[in-house]
């Protein structure tokens, strides 16, 4: 992507000015929604132009940058023009601008923008704490820790700054014990924000991971590997017992991203398939949250036990929700499967006993996500409820996500080379520890 101040100004400026102008349309929710959609499209065009597409080379980072505004657009598309959602739309534009800015800027500016994102998320969690199903102070505290870590990364020398940066990445790309902000954001924020943040935050965390400076002590990588394993198990166990869809998906995310952390810690590299993996999980979760938002818009924030059997009265919803769940639980031909498979078959991964834990958590995802599908889609529907299937805008946004997930699943992984590698990459000829 083009370097210098112009991209930063442009990519941050478009969504910010869009958000500012959005206040003019505050009293007209329908017009505001259309405006927000146009701004996110303009951001997408800006990213495409700055990355030199279609002539320029396509990398994993370009993909991430392109998908930020795409995710914002899709999360906004299915929204009903209700006044309660206005704040979420404006916030989405602000977060989009900050996110794009954090991706293209260098020399500490990106850290300041990340700090602003964490502050904004913390404020939002506090603002909507009454509707959260997760302890809001846990989320706010995690965001606060993130800001402190960013300050440390800016002022402290290596290796403290490197460790602090890893902690920031662990807050964005959730890893135990820094997952509170991510879970609180997905489980407690209104409108399209959970769906958008489900993609934006891990995307930024992944980007941060790729651009880490060297100097991380070996013991820190080992600790990350252990935390990755613990997080994968913990996320699975937590997801299994959730009766709220949003918290279930948040913990499922924790489990999936912990697998990535484990991978990076043991392989000391981030292959192209990791980009596919992160992007696909973000999109699948985003899609599931959007689909659930459609249900919430109709019946309120209800418990999973209060609704069932949507397959027959809402066939369009059932179809896309099932496809998204399939993608999320790692079935082919979607991106999550391709990314995971590609990561495991990468020669840089040393085969060890910890792989068993990863495989078990992968299996657990089939359990709780299938249970989610089973409870929502199948069984007898409740005759006392009135059912309205997805509107075209809701359906379109979800179908586009399914199409992107499919393309990610079948496209050559080479397209998504991250464009950077994690420092301290070991030689791949290392002897496998349990192989004589």
């Amino acid at each position: 992507m083009t370097t210098g101040w112009l991209p930063l100004v442009l990519l941050v400026g478009i969504p910010f000015s869009g958000a500012a102008l959005g206040f003019v349309l505050w009293s007209k929710p329908r017009a505001l929604r259309v405006w927000a959609l146009l701004v996110s499209l303009a951001s997408l065009a800006g990213v495409a132009a700055l990355s030199g597409l279609p002539a320029g080379s396509f990398t994993g980072m370009t993909l991430l940058a392109l998908l930020f505004p795409t995710a914002a657009f899709l999360s906004l598309l299915g929204q009903s023009p209700h006044e309660d959602n206005r704040a979420a739309w404006i916030m989405s534009l602000l977060l989009l601008g900050l996110g794009l800015g954090a991706m293209v800027s260098r020399e500490g500016v990106e850290l300041i923008l990340l700090a602003l994102i964490l502050v904004l998320v913390g404020v939002l969690i506090h603002r909507y704490r009454a509707m959260s199903v997760y302890h809001p102070w846990q989320g706010i505290g995690t965001c606060g820790v993130g800001v402190i870590c960013i300050v440390m990364a800016l002022v402290m020398p290596l290796p403290v700054s490197a460790v602090a940066l890893v902690a920031v990445c662990a807050i964005l790309l959730p890893l135990v014990p820094f997952h509170g902000g991510h879970v609180a954001a997905l489980a407690g924020l209104p409108g399209n924000l959970p769906a958008f943040l489900a993609f934006l935050l891990p995307g930024l965390g992944f980007h941060g991971l790729l651009t880490l400076p060297g100097g991380m002590p070996e013991v820190a990588w080992t600790a990350l590997g252990v935390l990755g394993l613990a997080g994968a198990l913990y996320g699975s166990l937590k997801a299994v017992v959730q009766s709220r869809v949003r918290s279930l998906l948040a913990y499922a995310n924790l489990s999936f991203y912990s697998i990535l952390w484990w991978y990076v810690a043991v392989a000391h590299t981030v292959p192209a398939q990791a980009t596919t993996y992160v992007v696909s999980i973000g999109l699948a979760t985003s899609g599931l949250l959007l689909a659930w938002h459609a249900i919430r818009a109709r019946y309120g924030d209800i418990d999973l036990r209060a609704i069932r059997g949507l397959g027959r009265p809402m066939p369009r919803f059932a179809l896309v929700f099932t496809l998204l769940a399939l993608a999320a639980l790692g079935l082919p031909p979607f991106g999550v499967f391709s990314g995971f498979m590609g990561m495991l078959l990468n020669p840089s991964l040393p085969v060890s006993g910890s792989l068993v834990v990863i495989i078990v958590t992968w299996l657990a995802a089939s359990w709780y996500l299938l249970d989610l599908v089973q409870r929502l889609i199948f069984g007898r529907h409740r005759p006392e409820l009135r059912y309205h299937d997805l509107r075209w805008a809701e359906m379109t946004s979800l179908l586009v996500i399914v199409v992107i997930l499919t393309l990610l699943g079948i496209a050559p992984a080479r397209l998504f080379e991250p464009g950077a590698s994690v420092p301290q990459t070991r030689a791949q000829t290392e002897v496998i520890s349990w192989n004589r």
């Binding site: 609180a184 937590k238 299994v240 082919p332 085969v351 068993v356 495989i359 080479r414």
Partner: protein
């Protein structure tokens, strides 16, 4: 040669025809849908002839090792094994699709159902013609999901539970399969079948997963992959999903029992050169198959529902099939699965008619058994005696003389003849329960039929082995790798023989109203055994308990975790 791609694509077209369109065209679309599947059968049959004479057909949409490959390397590799499987699948698929157009006509999800049947046929075809392990795994997993969907009935709670159980158990196999692929790739740096076989044979690797435990790389890989096959082919203890899925429409079972469940046998055959490198795995395969065969057949005897009886019968047959692989008789397992597939498809489709008829006529089946003779006639017993004891001996001698089979040098051949014996014994037992063999005509016809069937089976199996594995040295290598210790082998044979003969005496004595003295503990044990098999060895309860324990742990973790609202 690229026309072979039509074989999987035509059923996909049939799925599209069934699903896309309005209600007004539903009926004719359903009827037209059978044509592409029948067309696929014709192409598959032609391909079978072609690969028999000209060798395997390979059609890859990727270049092994190239950086620009798609994320999922897709391609077709059609050798004799694939061609046989494709012919079977398209034939059974076409018949089941055609049958379903009438059987499921009044179902509200008629079009979706037909689409799923055609799509499942497509997935099965892609699976058996996969060019590499990853592609095989892709379609292997899709099959798990399709089984979940096909076993569904939205409004029937037991069916829903069964569908979830089906998917859960198939996923256990899937992740083991995944672990096997990862390990294979890690050790041999390839997922291409031929390269994998060559490298595994050329580079023996020893792994030490735990201190003091050593295992060869080929054994570790094949064991993990075998767990995948165990789940799909309903092998003990991963068999519980099959009886739970029996509420699905009857044609689904025909497809399941004739095609899908054979996936395990296919997998073992596809990877036969790899399995041939590990005697340990082959012995494990043998034990699992034997246990499944015995337990499946025993549980079948205690069922009182026609579909469950057939379901457990399939489990038993799959046990046989896997046991054959464990003995190194890979081609025989394919022959078995083809024969069993056609047989079970017929039985299940017929079973659907019986169930329909029973629903329409409350008095059906007619309860007029009281008029039948309770006593087992001498003629029946003699027929059974001939079929179980004398006939196999005659075949054994004839085979030794006519086919020149090395009977004493090859455990596999002995076991095969032993199968013939046990199978004929089972057949005669079933017939005696019908009490319809007490006439000379029936007895002679039955004996001749059995003779013909077993001889044909023997000849066909020999021919089929030569067809699938033309290299006799390769076949011999598999048999040698699978050979059991001589004493164990002899003990197994002697025990089985004694059990069969004793059971015949018990049947005869009981039928004549004579009492055989059995100690009290023996009688109690027999009753307990019956109850145990009636409850399917409580394996379902065991899994349910395991699930509850896991949930308790999860709830405890949730209760004591940070961030949880009170």
């Amino acid at each position: 040669m690229s026309y072979v791609i039509l074989i999987p694509l035509l059923p996909l077209l049939a799925a599209a025809i069934a699903v896309v369109g309005g209600d007004s065209s539903r009926e004719w679309r359903a009827k037209v849908g059978v044509l592409p599947i029948a067309g696929a059968f014709v192409v598959a049959a032609a391909t079978l002839v072609l690969v028999s004479s000209q060798g395997p057909i390979s059609l890859r949409f990727y270049e092994p090792g190239a950086a620009a490959n798609p994320a999922l390397p897709m391609g077709l590799y059609v050798d004799r094994l694939s061609a046989v499987m494709m012919t079977l699948i398209t034939l059974v698929g076409a018949i089941i699709y055609r049958y379903s157009t009438g059987y499921m006509y009044q179902d509200p999800g008629y079009s979706r159902y037909l689409g799923l049947i055609a799509f499942t046929t497509f997935v099965l075809l892609c699976m058996v013609s996969s060019a590499n392990l990853v592609m095989l795994f892709v379609f292997w997993q899709l099959l798990s999901w399709l089984l979940f969907l096909l076993a569904h009935n939205h409004t029937h709670a037991a069916t829903l539970d069964g569908a979830v159980k089906t998917f859960a158990f198939l996923r256990i196999g899937d992740v083991a399969f995944l672990a096997g692929i990862v390990l294979a790739h890690s050790l041999y740096d390839t997922v291409e079948f031929q390269e994998l076989f060559v490298r595994a044979a050329a580079m023996p690797v020893t792994l030490s997963p735990l201190p003091g435990i050593e295992i060869s790389g080929a054994t570790a890989v094949t064991l993990l992959l075998f767990v995948g096959g165990m789940s799909k082919s309903a092998q003990f203890p991963l068999h519980v999903w099959l009886p739970s899925s029996l509420y699905a429409p009857t044609p689904v079972h025909a497809l399941l029992h004739a095609g899908i469940i054979n996936a395990g046998g296919f997998l073992l055959n596809r990877l036969a050169p790899l399995y041939g490198l590990s005697s340990t795995t082959l012995h494990v395969v043998f034990v699992v198959g034997m246990l499944t065969a015995i337990l499946g057949a025993s549980m079948m005897l205690t069922q009182n529902d026609i579909k469950k009886t057939l379901g457990f019968s399939t489990i038993g047959q799959m046990g046989y099939m896997i046991m054959e692989c464990g003995l190194g008789a890979f081609a025989l397992a394919v022959f078995h699965l083809v024969a069993h597939g056609l047989f079970k498809a017929t039985v299940f489709l017929n079973c659907g008619n019986v169930i329909h008829k029973a629903r329409q006529e409350p008095a059906f089946p007619h309860a007029d058994h009281a008029k039948e003779e309770i006593e087992l006639p001498l003629l029946t017993w003699l027929t059974g005696f001939l079929a179980t004891l004398v006939l196999p001996l005659a075949i054994l001698l004839a085979a030794h003389g006519v086919l020149r089979l090395p009977l004493l040098e090859s455990q596999g051949t002995v076991i095969f003849l032993f199968f013939a014996w046990v199978t004929s014994s089972q057949a005669i037992l079933t017939l005696t329960r019908l009490r319809a063999v007490a006439s000379w005509k029936v007895s002679v016809a039955m004996l001749l039929t059995l003779l013909l069937v077993i001889f044909t089976y023997l000849f066909a199996a020999e021919t089929f082995t030569a067809f699938l594995y033309p290299d006799a040295a390769e076949v011999d290598r598999y048999f040698r790798a699978a050979a059991l210790p001589a004493r164990l082998f002899d003990a197994l044979l002697v025990t089985s023989t004694l059990l069969t003969i004793v059971s015949w005496f018990v049947i005869y004595a009981n039928a004549h109203g004579r009492t055989i003295w059995i100690p009290v503990w023996g009688r109690e044990f027999r009753v307990r055994l019956y109850v145990l098999f009636l409850n399917r060895l409580h394996v379902d309860a065991l899994y349910a308990g395991l699930g509850r324990t896991l949930m308790r742990i999860a709830h405890r973790v949730d209760k004591h975790s940070f961030g949880r609202l009170p």
